[in-house]
């Protein structure tokens, strides 16, 4: 039901049941917010969004107050502006103020608010919070002195990820955010998905940097610098650098990386193709043996850690195939080392991913061979963008170059795996192709491409029914459990921690808008429509891999490089 309210002496239409903020936003009136996150329960904690409602003594928070018919609202009266400014001044009163050295510099919401509200002097002085730096996690760094206690990370961890790893500890001026028993992060149930980093308005949470390490190694002449980047990284770099993405951009990225000083450049899509092929193989074998238990895809490292902690019973059902990053890393240290005559220990292998948990995955047990890790250093898209800027490379004026032989190019199905449901679709397409020798109709996978945290479909291939389920964001596990309780059976289950898949990953540029995620999805689907090599078994690199290298190369022949193992984790849940 629509009705009219008065805002700043103008009439606007509001809908019954919505908050003041959503009515204002729909009518093009912008007011600042801080603790609010769209699609999450409002807390009204920061009070930045206060407005004046005629007839009410106190200012009300627009983000949580439902709009009512009689309301006359003033959004930018002197009283409101003073209140907002004072709130930000108080937040700044005990803030470290080391913006120049802060990770979120230029991306900080507190900084932006201070600028918007025209704060030019320190009016309120308070004792600074005692610095506490927690660098124990392989992926996420906590700087407690920069925390403004907005609680966004806590809500994301609870409502979006359902890991419940962090919460407020203590009360009053001693309140801080931390994991159980106020331990350091490495002891906690954190699954390193990094969604808390994406919503943190300040630099209190940020990724652990490997950039300096990579920079250091770039100057070691006796070491071969090898880099792999996942198919989504090109889209992320284009976004971060503010240029329009085109299909040729991954070739441009190759030449950028070569100019920075990397000796060999590969696309992790090669590993993804192997990952798809191996999972399809495991799936077919399970169907042949009529195994009742489902096969869980293990490409998402956050999900793997989640399963190891919260669902140890399913560990035997987790696919033992490594993730694309680790597969490519393993190949770099074996096949590439062999073919170019470099000792594996003389290779520094860097990976660029849209994911934060990959930093953790690279350090996992079972991700190395003879004491040499598959991947030595993992950078996010944001870190790579920093590296490109540091080397002063003019990204708009550079000749595209191919990646390095013998792993040049991958199928478009590899790109698809960056979207939730994509890896399942790719596996099914491959299985279908094995059987019928032609491409499956896209309509068959319509339900996998739909929205929602839990999707399922089934496919008849060679008179056998293959039932699959896709859990898009860990909140979908609840629905999976319900489906199991209702007696449903699945052959293949994909779980992605970040809703939407890797396109919403925590290593991508800070994008607060749905639009960016949508455009990433569109680019990947479009690339898949037009690419003739749309399956791993059509990619020359992948064909070569299985027909030639796997047979000829001694180390690769037993495929041990492709597999890993999982353990039950004892952490405080």
């Amino acid at each position: 039901m629509l009705f009219t309210i008065q805002v700043n002496n103008r009439k606007i239409k509001a809908e019954k049941g919505e908050t003041i903020l959503s009515a204002l936003n729909r009518n093009g009136i912008r007011i600042p917010t801080l603790c609010r996150m769209a699609d999450f329960s409002p807390t009204g904690a920061c009070r930045i969004c206060v407005v004046e409602v005629e007839g009410r003594d106190r200012l009300v928070t627009a983000c949580s107050q439902p709009v009512e018919e009689w309301m006359k609202i003033r959004t930018h009266s002197p009283r409101v502006i003073t209140a907002r400014k004072t709130i930000v001044e108080m937040l700044l009163s005990n803030h470290p103020d080391d913006c120049l050295y802060c990770d979120k510099n230029l991306n900080c919401e507190l900084q932006r608010l201070a600028e918007e509200l025209n704060i030019r002097e320190r009016r309120i002085r308070a004792k600074k919070i005692k610095p506490r730096l927690d660098q124990s996690s392989p992926a996420i760094v906590r700087e407690l002195s920069k925390c403004i206690l907005c609680g966004r990370c806590i809500r994301v961890c609870e409502e979006l990820i359902s890991a419940n790893s962090i919460d407020f500890i203590g009360k009053g001026s001693k309140t801080h955010v931390g994991p159980a028993m106020d331990r350091d992060f490495n002891f906690s149930s954190c699954i390193h998905c990094g969604q808390c980093v994406m919503v943190c308005p300040t630099g209190a949470l940020h990724e652990k940097h490997n950039l300096v390490e990579v920079q250091d190694y770039l100057h070691h002449n006796d070491i071969a610098k090898v880099i792999q980047y996942s198919p989504l990284v090109t889209i992320g770099i284009a976004e971060e650098m503010g240029i329009k993405y085109n299909k040729d951009f991954d070739r441009t990225l190759n030449s950028i990386l070569r100019r920075i000083g990397f000796n060999k450049i590969f696309n992790s899509g090669v590993g993804t193709d192997i990952c798809i092929t191996e999972i399809a193989g495991q799936l077919l074998e399970r169907i042949k043996n009529e195994t009742e238990d489902p096969l869980y895809i293990s490409a998402c490292p956050s999900w793997v850690k989640y399963a190891e902690q919260f669902m140890p019973d399913i560990i035997p059902q987790l696919s033992t195939v490594k993730s694309p990053q680790q597969l490519t890393g393993g190949l770099i240290k074996t096949l590439i080392a062999d073919s170019s005559g470099i000792m594996p220990e003389k290779i520094f292998s860097v990976s660029v991913t849209p994911c934060m948990a990959m930093k953790f995955e690279a350090r996992r047990d079972g991700m190395m061979r003879k004491g040499i890790s598959d991947v030595d250093s993992v950078m996010t898209v944001r870190e790579l963008a920093r590296l490109i800027r540091l080397y002063g490379i003019d990204i708009s004026n550079i000749e595209p170059e191919p990646a390095d032989e013998p792993m040049e190019g991958s199928s478009s199905a590899a790109g698809l795996t960056e979207i939730s449901g994509g890896i399942t679709e790719a596996v099914l397409r491959l299985v279908y192709f094995y059987e019928y020798k032609n491409d499956a109709d896209k309509q068959l996978f319509k339900r996998l491409r739909a929205g929602g945290a839990f999707r399922e479909t089934s496919l008849m291939i060679a008179n056998r029914k293959i039932a699959v389920a896709v859990v898009d964001g860990l909140t979908g596990l609840e629905k999976l459990r319900a489906a199991f309780n209702a007696g449903r059976k699945y052959n293949l289950i994909e779980v992605m921690t970040c809703p939407g898949g890797c396109i919403n990953g925590a290593g991508m540029p800070f994008a607060m808008h749905e639009i960016n995620i949508k455009s990433r999805r569109k680019i990947i689907y479009q690339a898949d429509e037009t690419d003739p090599i749309n399956l791993p078994c059509k990619s020359p690199v992948n064909i070569n891999m299985y027909d030639k290298y796997l047979k000829e190369n001694e180390v690769l022949s037993d495929k041990k490089v492709f597999y890993t193992h999982y353990i039950k984790r004892n952490v405080l849940l």
Binding site: N164, S165, I166, D167, F168, I169, G170, K171, P179, A180, M181, D182, S188, S189, L572, L573
Partner: protein
């Protein structure tokens, strides 16, 4: 220890969080403090993560996470006691014991807490040692008091 928690847990509904605070209070009463194990147990029983239970328990001053000492001192830092100089008492305790509020010394003899009000507002600062109340405490008296108590416990 675990069986003790189990018997307490049995009096509460599984999977229901509405009785969480009384439950934690009962455990603390029996065990003297909330151990990590007990928090994990409670979390599993009530269906909440350890983080959430710890978060709730740290909000209230009454819960402690280390076993209390044989000599347990509570110092009031409520408004009246504060105005009467409880800060000096707390500072003296810190200096004398080398402990922070909520901590217990290594031999497990001494521990102290800061509480908000013990109902003796007109006699502040009030401290309570093992259930016995002392009014109008002055910081200078503390070293002597502690020495006497230690002597008693050492020769017990």
């Amino acid at each position: 220890m675990t069986t003790e928690i189990d018997t307490i847990l049995r009096n509460y509904k599984q999977g229901k969080r509405d009785q969480l605070i009384p439950l934690l209070q009962e455990i603390q009463e029996k065990a003297g403090f909330l151990s990590e194990d007990s928090i994990v147990e409670v979390g599993r029983y009530v269906g909440l993560s350890t983080t959430k239970i710890y978060s709730l328990a740290t909000f209230y001053d009454e819960f402690r996470f280390l076993p209390a000492g044989k000599i347990q001192i509570s110092v009031c830092n409520g408004t009246s006691c504060y105005l009467n100089g409880s800060k000096a008492v707390i500072d003296k305790l810190k200096e004398e014991t080398g402990l922070l509020p909520g901590q217990t010394d290594r031999d497990g003899i001494l521990s102290y807490d800061i509480v908000t009000c013990m109902g003796g507002c007109n006699h502040g600062p009030v401290i309570c040692i093992n259930g016995e109340y002392y009014n109008n405490v002055k910081a200078e008296q503390l070293p002597d008091m502690i020495r006497k108590l230690r002597y008693i416990f050492d020769n017990d």
